[in-house]
């Protein structure tokens, strides 16, 4: 289980992450989403013990992760760009990981390589970005981690490899109850994969719920008005798009009172339309701007 409690991380006077709390129960997948620069990678670096939080704490199964090799040994971390020793061959990295992680399972690595087909004699600097990402995934899954932290794990991967990665992650959770924390911009993938989502805005938590919970909270309404109306006085509306007499209204506080107000303003028809996680993200970001 990952517990991030009141995490604050500053770079000089800039507060990159402000009082963020996230709990990821064992055997679940949690996604972190947000625009560039909202603090996703900073949170991940605190979870993997790279950064020391200014305030708050990150616990893995109740133990503080910062500067504790025993806890770190149970975490697999795949960064968005994995900078391994460039002159090492793939097999050297396997040897290196075997030396560092006692739990490293070479059989598992070889098994994964039957899927990903990496040339083990090739040097890291001769691998493409996608191949390096595959290597990082294989190495970090082969350490048999209790917690797997992934930062943009599918960037640089082709469609087939993305599917393979998704399948492997689901297998890790199903078979070993691995806890996974993912940060990604591929929201359609996260929507399929994650149990819970945290959406960040300006270093703070904007929404935090299950994927279905967020979808239930943020709604898109399609309303038809016979004459133009001003909806700015209705509370809880994030965004309004008008195409002729049809209004698409995005709200994170759809109540009977709002419905009553919309009818009072002359709505002839009012219906809810399903939203993808990506749409929710886009409208929430627009609202901030």
């Amino acid at each position: 289980m990952i517990e991030i409690k009141n995490l604050t991380k500053c770079y000089g006077s800039f507060k990159a992450v402000d009082n963020v709390s996230i709990t990821v129960p064992k055997g679940t997948i949690h996604g972190i989403i947000g625009e560039n620069g909202v603090g996703k990678t900073t949170i991940i670096h605190c979870v993997t013990g790279v950064y020391k939080p200014n305030e708050g704490v990150v616990l893995i199964d109740g133990e503080n992760v910062y500067d504790d090799p025993k806890v770190k040994a149970r975490i697999g971390y795949v960064a968005d760009s994995n900078s391994y020793f460039p002159t090492y061959r793939v097999k050297d990295m396997v040897k290196f990981y075997k030396g560092i992680y006692q739990s490293f399972d070479e059989e598992c690595f070889n098994e994964l390589n039957t899927v990903f087909e990496l040339p083990v004699d090739r040097r890291i600097n001769q691998l493409s970005k996608g191949m390096q990402m595959r290597l990082a995934l294989m190495l970090n899954i082969a350490i048999r981690p209790d917690v797997l932290v992934l930062d943009e794990p599918t960037s640089g991967l082709d469609a087939l490899a993305k599917k393979q990665v998704t399948d492997i992650l689901i297998k890790e959770v199903a078979e070993r109850e691995c806890t996974i924390l993912i940060s990604s911009h591929h929201l359609s993938e996260l929507e399929k994969l994650c149990d819970d989502i945290t959406m960040l805005q300006g270093g703070r938590v904007k929404y935090q719920s299950s994927v279905e919970g967020i979808k239930a909270k943020v709604k898109k309404l399609q309303a038809v008005f016979s004459s133009p109306v001003d909806l700015s006085d209705i509370e809880g509306i994030l965004n309004v798009e008008q195409i002729g007499s049809i209004y698409h209204i995005i709200t994170d506080n759809y109540t009977q009172d709002m419905e009553r107000q919309l009818y009072a303003k002359g709505a002839d028809i009012l219906e809810e339309i399903g939203m993808s996680l990506e749409e929710i993200f886009i409208y929430s970001s627009k609202e901030q701007r």
């Binding site: 950064y51 500067d67 806890v71 760009s81 391994y84 560092i100």
Partner: protein
């Protein structure tokens, strides 16, 4: 020993081996050239070359260690650093790595010294002028200075986040101290007697008496080694306090900034007194004004570099 150490040590040894071979090659070429020019065909010159080789290798090892530490920090500061820092290895290993490097450094040095010692007591060389004793003295002194410089360097690495500046720090500290001593000596007696200087200098005198073991006679090399010990210990303590998310900044600790400004500006102001002395204007007013002005100039120079690198 985990793979991270092995990786560092392998890199150290490769660099060290390459440097040593290059040094041997240069000396070999030198000897061959001397022979070709009809130089003396005796043992002594060869051994004299060997002494030079020992001195050369100390310097090369020092440079190699500096470079290796620089490369390590370069990695730590960039993305590979994130990879290294998330590994289940204690951060203090960073210090241990340097200590391991130091042990290699000391080990090689001792091996060279033992070899020289063996030659010195060998019956083949028992007669004639005692070049070997001189050779050993030089070697020991070089060794002591290297260890001292290495300890200052290690301490600088722990407090300065920019590796290149940290490597320059021991030399800056050495020349800064030397300059301020020469500058202080150049000051007129009346100035030295001013209360503000007298109190400071009394404290400094007592401090230097203390660290130089006043009244006891120790050779300089022993003092260098003794001074190195607290510096190594201080560096180790600071290593535990480093917040690695500050890596890449000029100073890893907040207190370093005012310390550098105050000590740096003061050293610069004292050093400038040596220059003022050339003007042969010995009035108190001139000394005080130039001291204040050069203190401010030193402050501005430091400020320029701090802003440039921080």
């Amino acid at each position: 020993m985990n793979s991270l150490y092995k990786n560092y040590i392998r890199n150290s040894l490769i660099l060290l081996g390459a440097a040593s071979l290059f040094s041997i090659f240069l000396n070999f070429m030198d000897i061959m050239s001397e022979n070709a020019n009809g130089g003396q065909q005796e043992w002594i010159p060869y051994l004299s070359e060997w002494s030079q080789w020992a001195g050369t290798i100390f310097i090369i090892i020092f440079v190699v260690m500096g470079l290796n530490t620089f490369l390590h920090y370069k990695n730590v500061n960039k993305k590979t650093g994130v990879f290294i820092k998330q590994l289940p290895v204690k951060y203090s290993n960073d210090f241990l790595f340097k200590t391991v490097s130091s042990i290699i450094f000391i080990g090689v040095t001792l091996a060279v010294l033992c070899a020289i010692g063996w030659v010195m007591y060998s019956p083949y060389f028992a007669e004639g002028e005692n070049y070997f004793k001189q050779m050993c003295d030089t070697a020991y002194m070089t060794f002591a200075v290297m260890v001292f410089f290495y300890s200052i360097g290690l301490l600088s690495q722990q407090i300065i986040g920019i590796p290149l500046l940290a490597i320059c720090a021991p030399f800056a500290a050495f020349f800064g101290t030397l300059g301020s001593f020469i500058g202080y000596e150049s000051m007129p007696y009346v100035i030295k007697e001013l209360a503000i200087f007298r109190i400071t200098l009394d404290i400094m005198d007592k401090f230097f008496d203390f660290i130089c073991f006043y009244g006891k006679i120790y050779p300089e090399e022993t003092l260098f080694i003794i001074w190195s010990i607290p510096l190594f210990i201080l560096a180790a303590i600071l290593n535990f306090k480093i917040d690695y998310s500050n890596m890449g900044k000029l100073f890893l600790f907040r207190w370093c900034r005012p310390v550098v400004y105050i000590i740096g500006s003061t050293m610069f102001a004292f050093s400038m007194q040596a220059v003022v002395n050339y003007l042969e204007v010995r009035s108190i007013a001139v000394v005080i004004i130039t001291f204040i002005l050069s203190w401010l100039a030193g402050f501005k120079i430091i400020q320029y570099f701090v802003r440039r690198f921080d």
